[in-house]
């Protein structure tokens, strides 16, 4: 069953990523693009965890944790810039 579930999840996440990229280009506003980038990093983090299951390796978790932290910081920095016009005041 896993031999079906993991490729199915790969396909679903790829479709999700394509839709996010379409929203990233479509806009129409800056906050929409930040939201699309936020969703993209969350989806790619889930894809990395799935790759860890597929290759039966735990080496991908550290990469997933790093993506989670840096993506969060990136989202906060971009939103702060939208809100205040400045990141560090």
């Amino acid at each position: 069953m896993l031999a079906f579930a993991v490729p199915f999840a790969f396909v679903m996440f790829s479709i999700a990523l394509l839709m996010n990229i379409y929203r990233l280009f479509l806009g129409p506003d800056a906050a929409d693009r930040i939201l699309a980038l936020d969703t993209i990093y969350i989806n790619s983090l889930a894809l990395l965890i799935l790759l860890g299951i597929w290759h039966n390796s735990t080496a991908y978790f550290e990469a997933a944790v790093l993506i989670a932290m840096l993506g969060f910081i990136g989202t906060i920095a971009a939103t702060k810039f939208l809100l205040r016009g400045d990141i560090i005041e």
């Binding site: 069953m1 996010n20 939201l35 936020d38 969703t39 965890i49 597929w54 989670a68 969060f72």
Partner: protein, 132 residues
């Protein structure tokens, strides 16, 4: 991938399929919903249910095939803590920049009385007054 016992195989597959479906639905919502405030709501399904399902499946897989492994939970806890913060800041940015809203997305700043506990009541009263 290793062969798992049947129950673990089906349990992990169940979580992974649920998570992947929710991720696709959340991204479809991000693509299709009409204004920024509604689009903000859709990808939260990605964060909580999508990644949560994948992480539960991964915990089942690695715990059964090797020894008990819970360090995936670190990612889930971190995401569950940070997702509301980024959503809150994005909503603040959307309000601050005054993006276009559809008519059914109500801006409560124009009706401060609706913040109270009786908001349903007052909203109904206002609508009936408007109808008169």
């Amino acid at each position: 991938m290793l062969e798992l016992p049947t129950w673990a195989d089906y349990l992990a597959s169940f979580f992974i399929i649920i998570g992947a479906s929710f991720a696709a639905v959340g991204s479809y919502g991000l693509l299709r919903l009409p204004d920024f405030m509604t689009r903000l709501h859709a990808p939260t399904k990605n964060t909580t249910l999508g990644v949560g399902g994948i992480i539960l499946g991964s915990i089942v897989y690695f715990s059964v095939s090797d020894s008990l492994s819970l360090h995936e939970l670190l990612i889930a806890i971190f995401l569950f803590m940070t997702a509301p913060i980024s959503a809150h800041l994005l909503a603040k940015a959307g309000l601050h920049l005054e993006y276009k809203m559809i008519s059914s997305t109500r801006d409560l700043r124009e009706h401060p009385e609706d913040y109270s506990d009786k908001s349903q009541h007052t909203a109904k009263e206002r609508d009936s007054e408007r109808a008169d």
